[in-house]
């Protein structure tokens, strides 16, 4: 079931194409990751999804219908750079943001107190934002994102600047929200974070979608061509070997990408034959980071001919 469908979105600013014909689907009840480095077009895409920017072309469909301004009431958005009125009191700002989403009254007040309690901030409800620590300000911002009980929650780098305890608390709440059937959309450049949290991802680079699909399927596809290797010895002979597409040193492990997924065993044999001491040879594991490097690295030099890697 598709909750949100992004179709051929394009947005240009002063001849710079920020988002280039992007299409992807956000499934119902998923934790969806929009992944890419800074400036890749994530925020512009999200802004178009929320109807803040009007796309040059393309459209966003919410369960088959074009999104309009009423969609905004159904979204909670946590921007990457947090924004709260410094001079306002915690409770006032929570109620204001909720009212802008069309929710007000005693119930919202009560709910705000519940969330504040859960984040151990209830005693600060009448404090001014500027008197709170940065971590606490972030918690307030997060509460304001979900207080109006939106169906869609868009989180831009939600964990940056949070300590481990609060990171866990936030994760717990996000998983809770997923259980309630909310659609959670992460926008992040942290690959290993996306790998741990998301079940569906879309990778964007230079405004173009370079990969999308279910995380497990993506990983199993790419892992077949990728081997992570721990070894002792010299593997430089592989550099120009016809079997090998690319070798990448990740520090602890070396990633080897072979041209033909069925030739894994041949590579292992080659290593043994060349007296390389193999400590770990994993042909069924690849990190999102590796996938990203292998895809985005290509885009860097020449145009990606294959288009979107669809899984």
């Amino acid at each position: 079931m598709i909750a949100l469908e992004v179709k051929n979105l394009t947005k240009t600013f002063d001849k710079i194409v920020a988002v280039d014909n992007a299409s992807f689907e956000v499934p119902e009840g998923s934790i969806f990751g929009l992944i890419g480095r800074n400036g890749a077009g994530k925020t512009t895409t999200i802004r178009m999804m929320m109807n803040i920017y009007i796309p040059d072309s393309g459209e966003v469909l919410l369960r088959g219908n074009k999104v309009d301004h009423t969609f905004k009431d159904n979204v909670g958005y946590l921007p990457e750079e947090r924004g709260l009125y410094k001079k306002s009191k915690v409770m006032d700002i929570l109620l204001y943001f909720a009212e802008l989403k069309g929710k007000k009254g005693k119930d919202i007040h009560k709910k705000a107190e519940e969330y504040l309690e859960r984040f151990e901030l209830l005693d600060r409800k009448n404090s001014k934002i500027e008197d709170l620590s940065k971590g606490n300000q972030q918690k307030v911002q997060f509460i304001s994102t979900i207080l109006h009980d939106p169906e869609f929650i868009i989180l831009d780098e939600p964990f940056s600047g949070l300590d481990p305890i609060n990171t866990n608390l936030l994760k717990e709440i996000i998983l809770d929200l997923k259980k309630q059937g909310k659609v959670i959309i992460f926008s992040t450049h942290l690959m290993d974070f996306a790998e741990r949290m998301c079940d569906h991802i879309t990778m964007i680079d230079h405004g173009k979608i370079i990969l999308k699909g279910k995380l497990t399927e993506i990983k199993s596809k790419y892992s077949q061509e990728n081997i992570s290797l721990n070894y002792e010895g010299d593997i430089s002979f592989l550099n120009s070997h016809p079997l090998v597409d690319k070798i990448e040193d990740f520090g602890n492990t070396t990633g080897i990408r072979i041209k033909d997924a069925s030739k894994t065993q041949e590579l292992l044999k080659l290593l043994v034959d060349n007296k390389v001491k193999v400590k770990r040879f994993d042909a069924n594991d690849i990190s999102l980071h590796e996938i990203f490097i292998s895809l985005a690295g290509k885009v860097e030099g020449e145009q990606l001919t294959a288009g979107v890697a669809n899984v």
């Binding site: 802004r47 929320m50 803040i52 905004k72 947090r82 009125y85 306002s88 989403k101």
Partner: protein, 423 residues
């Protein structure tokens, strides 16, 4: 994409945020104190007679003139009580030269304020000579002018067989007693009350447009730089946000202006305070109402402009440099309105009371000083409302692009391009 509910939510927040803020309360209370303080200080300076201890040598070529001057001078209290010390002597022009040489050191060291020489020719042309280190001492001229005139007149007519009354009449100055002619009343004698009111209106408009405008610009800048706007725009459209902010601040401004005008309203509607005849105010409640409506429209227009500047730039410094064109739109009409007190019927005043932007400041001053036909008052309102809608549309386009833009300071030509952007 306009949502009334959301706009109202923003208005409510702006009102709560502004009306209850310390700055608002302080400004509302302090401005009148500040203004009356300035008025009081000026009056204090004027009453503080700085010419005490003036020492004058009065020299006349003609003995008769000298005697008459002495007679007139000694009738005055400020001479009698030694406030001014005057020495009298009769000298001809040559003697005067040596006398000047002799007294030069005294004049330069302020032991002597001035030497006044009344030559014989003064009986023909009333020109006297004034020798001093500071030859532009208006206070002394104003005090002595009429007295010397009277002495000259008296001498001139002395042997011509006129009665004392006739001579006194000849020595009198012309006094202008001013009357305002309007359509609905008999000619009424007018004091300086309306002049002061016109100045008050002009000053209040000037001050609060700049004050609230700058405040608006800062608020937009804050929302932009602190990224609050990203959260806000995920909830409402930029139009809701801008409309709400402008209306919220506009309502605050009108409430503030009403509070400032309360003393005037009390004076004209009740008899709690009676002003001296000279300060009589010829202002109706209709004029106060017009003033407030005019202010509201003008304020909304300028708030739109200031909000736009706040949205274009992303730091205070750049924004300061960006507001000068708007400042000009307030300052030039301000100076025009101030000069209107000399001649409120001049072509400049008439025209500028219809020109967009300047009309907001000039029309109230003009209306206070002369009677303006109703159709002209209404025409100005219509022009201002049209200007407001024009500005609001243009500002809205720039605002919605600028508010989400960060990075380098945009050039004006880039800003113009924003009009065409489809956001």
């Amino acid at each position: 994409m306009f949502s009334l509910d959301k706009t109202i939510t923003v208005i409510k927040r702006e009102l709560k945020d502004k009306l209850l803020s310390k700055t608002f309360v302080l400004m509302t209370l302090l401005l009148p104190i500040f203004m009356f303080g300035i008025l009081g200080f000026q009056t204090f300076l004027l009453t503080q007679e700085s010419d005490e201890g003036t020492i004058i040598e009065l020299v006349s070529e003609n003995e008769e003139v000298l005697n008459n001057i002495q007679k007139v001078f000694q009738e005055r209290t400020f001479i009698q009580n030694g406030y001014y010390k005057v020495g009298y002597s009769q000298k001809d022009k040559d003697q005067l030269q040596s006398f000047l040489e002799e007294k030069r050191a005294d004049l330069l060291s302020d032991k002597l304020t001035a030497i006044i020489f009344v030559p014989n020719s003064a009986l023909e042309n009333k020109d006297v000579e004034y020798y001093s280190k500071n030859p532009n001492n208006r206070t002394v001229f104003d005090k002595l002018r009429d007295m010397i005139n009277n002495a000259l007149v008296e001498t001139y007519f002395e042997d011509k067989n006129f009665s004392q009354e006739e001579i006194e009449f000849a020595g009198m100055r012309v006094g202008f007693n001013t009357f305002r002619v309007s359509t609905d009343k008999d000619a009424e004698e007018e004091g300086v009350g309306n002049l002061i009111a016109a100045f008050l209106f002009t000053f209040l408009l000037y001050f609060s447009l700049i004050f609230l405008g700058t405040m608006m610009m800062r608020a937009v800048l804050e929302e932009k730089t602190s990224k609050i706007v990203e959260v806000l725009l995920s909830s409402c459209s930029s139009k809701d946000l801008m409309t709400g902010k402008i209306l919220g601040t506009g309502i605050t401004g009108v409430i503030q202006m009403f509070i400032w005008l309360l003393p005037v309203i009390v004076v004209i509607t009740t008899s709690v305070f009676t002003l001296p005849q000279d300060f009589n105010l010829k202002i109706s409640m209709g004029m106060i109402g017009y003033f407030l409506i005019n202010y509201f429209i003008g304020l909304l227009t300028f708030l739109g402009l200031f909000a736009t500047v706040g949205a274009i730039f992303d730091n205070d410094q750049d924004a300061q440099s960006g507001i000068w064109p708007i400042m000009m739109l307030i300052m030039i009409p301000f100076f025009i309105a101030i000069t209107s007190q000399n001649n409120p019927d001049s072509a400049l005043i008439k025209i500028s009371s219809f020109v967009p932007f300047s009309s907001i400041i000039v029309m109230p001053a003009r209306m206070t000083l002369v009677e303006v036909p109703l159709w002209q008052l209404l025409a100005a309102v219509v022009i201002n409302i049209a200007t407001f809608f024009g500005i609001f549309m243009l500002a809205g386009k720039i605002y919605r692009v600028g508010i989400l833009r960060t990075g380098k300071k945009p050039s004006w030509s880039e800003v113009v391009k924003w009009f065409k952007y489809q956001y």
